[in-house]
């Protein structure tokens, strides 16, 4: 690729000096410069505004400007062109001033020849080029630094957002704990005070019955705490999934019995079971958690109804579990946040609950590499579908 012819701007009002520099320039082995010549700074400024030059050679004492001022008018317009000052012997102080301000070099009139001119130009061009490179790399470094600062700022913002989420979670927990812990605490307090206040009046059977209630409520509150801890865990990778072979039908029957007992048999759980595999490979605790939460929810949120449906079928390596109720349903707005901890349907205020159940189900389903979907309409009931792999790959903790 051929380079365009380089251009030089020469500011020189003395015809003799201009002639000399032009002649010397011709005799160098530098590429042939296209020479532009002016005698006045005003003309030079005009030229510099019109085009870029590759080199500027300038006298400092011109008809319309003198000394360092001349240089200061030209230099800001020179852009990438190195500026070499042509000076008389007497102007040393001024000349050194121009070097401090950015001139690449100077030549003393009458004391230079084509060789010195060539060397000076070569060095000046080279130095200017290097300066440009340094400036550009500084620009790059600055941009890198800016990007780094932006990245760091974003990280901080995210950390703050996470922190705020935790604070929200904490506040919600305090509010929910107030509700959900007060009822079992109430049962425990009445039972304990009953034993204390009326001990002489009651028989052993009644004492045992009250003690049993206290134990049961302690278990209930402990389970509630476990739920809160599970819901508060954000790093699922650290939760150990312990798989074993489970006889599916037995487990399902047992869970149904447990749920019906704990909900005082208000609803019939109708089971539709269509699974070929006798055993499945899963984490029993997580698996139970999913079923118990979904079935209890279905019953809790369909007060006055008689039954809920539990459908379990097997399809190409997948266990498809659907739980359907005819309850109060969940509005579309509420569905958006329903899988988040402490979120409850706005129509659920008169039904006790923590808002933790579905968030825990979702986590359990994710740990078992499954998926969950929910379909619901206000006062039309809710269907939750969970798909779990029958034989999953090992999930090792990170």
């Amino acid at each position: 690729m051929s380079q365009p012819q380089p251009t030089v701007l020469i500011l020189e009002d003395n015809p003799g000096d201009f002639f000399l520099v032009k002649e010397f320039l011709k005799r160098t082995s530098l590429p042939a410069y296209e020479i532009h010549h002016t005698e006045r700074v005003a003309d030079a400024i005009k030229l510099l505004q019109e085009q870029e030059f590759h080199l500027i050679l300038m006298d400092l004492f011109l008809p319309d400007s003198e000394g360092i001022q001349t240089f200061m008018k030209i230099y800001p317009l020179a852009k990438q062109a190195p500026v070499i000052v042509l000076t008389g012997l007497v102007d040393e102080e001024v000349t050194l001033g121009t070097l401090q301000q950015g001139a690449q070099d100077y030549l003393i009139k009458g004391e230079y020849d084509e060789k010195l001119l060539e060397k000076t130009i070569r060095y000046s061009v080279e130095r200017k080029h290097n300066q440009e490179l340094i400036m550009r790399s500084e620009e790059v470094s600055r941009k890198k630094l800016e990007a780094l600062v932006q990245e760091r700022t974003r990280e901080l913002e995210e950390a703050i957002k996470k922190e705020k989420l935790l604070v929200d979670l904490k506040n919600q927990f305090v509010a929910i704990a107030s509700h959900e812990f007060r009822t079992p605490l109430s049962t425990i307090r009445f039972a304990a005070e009953y034993l204390h206040d009326y001990l002489e009046k009651i028989d052993e059977a009644e004492i045992r019955s009250k003690l049993k209630k206290i134990e049961k409520q302690v278990t209930h509150m402990t389970a509630l705490l476990e739920d809160v801890i599970m819901a508060g865990r954000t790093d699922l990778k650290k939760i150990l999934v312990v798989k074993s072979k489970i006889e599916l039908r037995n487990l399902v029957d047992k869970i149904i019995e447990d749920v019906q007992n704990s909900t005082r048999n208000t609803h019939q759980i109708e089971l539709n079971y269509n699974v070929n595999s006798k055993e499945i490979d899963t984490d029993e605790k997580l698996f139970r958690n999913i079923f118990i939460n979904l079935l209890t929810n279905a019953i809790k949120y369909s007060p006055g109804k008689e039954s809920v449906l539990l459908n379990i079928k097997e399809e190409t390596g997948l266990l498809i579990i659907t739980v359907t109720d005819q309850g109060i349903g969940i509005s579309e707005e509420d569905q958006v946040k329903l899988f988040e901890a402490f979120q409850r349907g706005t129509n659920a205020a008169s039904i006790a609950g923590t808002g933790l159940g579905l968030s825990i189900v979702k986590k359990a389903v994710e740990l078992l590499k499954g998926s969950i979907r929910l379909q619901s309409g206000l006062n039309e009931g809710t269907t939750v579908e969970v798909r779990l792999p029958v034989a999953t790959t090992e999930n090792k903790p990170a």
């Binding site: 509700h179 605490l185 109430s186 049962t187 009046k201 209630k213 008169s350």
Partner: protein, 125 residues
């Protein structure tokens, strides 16, 4: 004549405990396990006092209190004392309970003494 108390509470073990305490203190207790049954029972037995929970399915305690007060106003029968015993524990909850028409608002967990003081202060009037 034994004072008859209508207890409305949906939590099984707690309801049983409150019923046992009230019986031990010499009251006749009828226990309804949700707000809807509670309101029906109120009309059936005309109790001397009501102790009700708030958070219950089908009909909550506040609705029961409002229904009872509305019925009393409509028919001109003299208002009966009502105690709310609830896990809703904020000052706003308290104010809402009294605004609905309850005479005393107790928050869970309350002591037997708290409950009996409330019952006796209302029966004495």
């Amino acid at each position: 004549m034994t004072t008859r108390i209508l207890l409305i509470e949906d939590t099984e073990d707690l309801g049983e405990n409150i019923r046992d305490v009230l019986r031990m203190e010499g009251f006749n207790v009828v226990w309804a396990r949700n707000g809807k049954i509670g309101l029906d029972t109120y009309h059936e037995i005309t109790p001397d006092l009501i102790v009700t929970d708030i958070i219950m399915p089908l009909m909550n305690g506040l609705e029961v209190v409002r229904e009872v007060r509305a019925f009393e106003k409509q028919t001109g029968v003299s208002p009966i004392p009502i105690i709310i015993l609830s896990a809703k524990a904020t000052p706003e909850d308290h104010a809402e309970g009294l605004a609905a028409g309850a005479n005393i608002y107790l928050k869970k967990p309350c002591s037997i003494d708290n409950l009996m003081n409330a019952v006796r202060s209302l029966i004495a009037n």
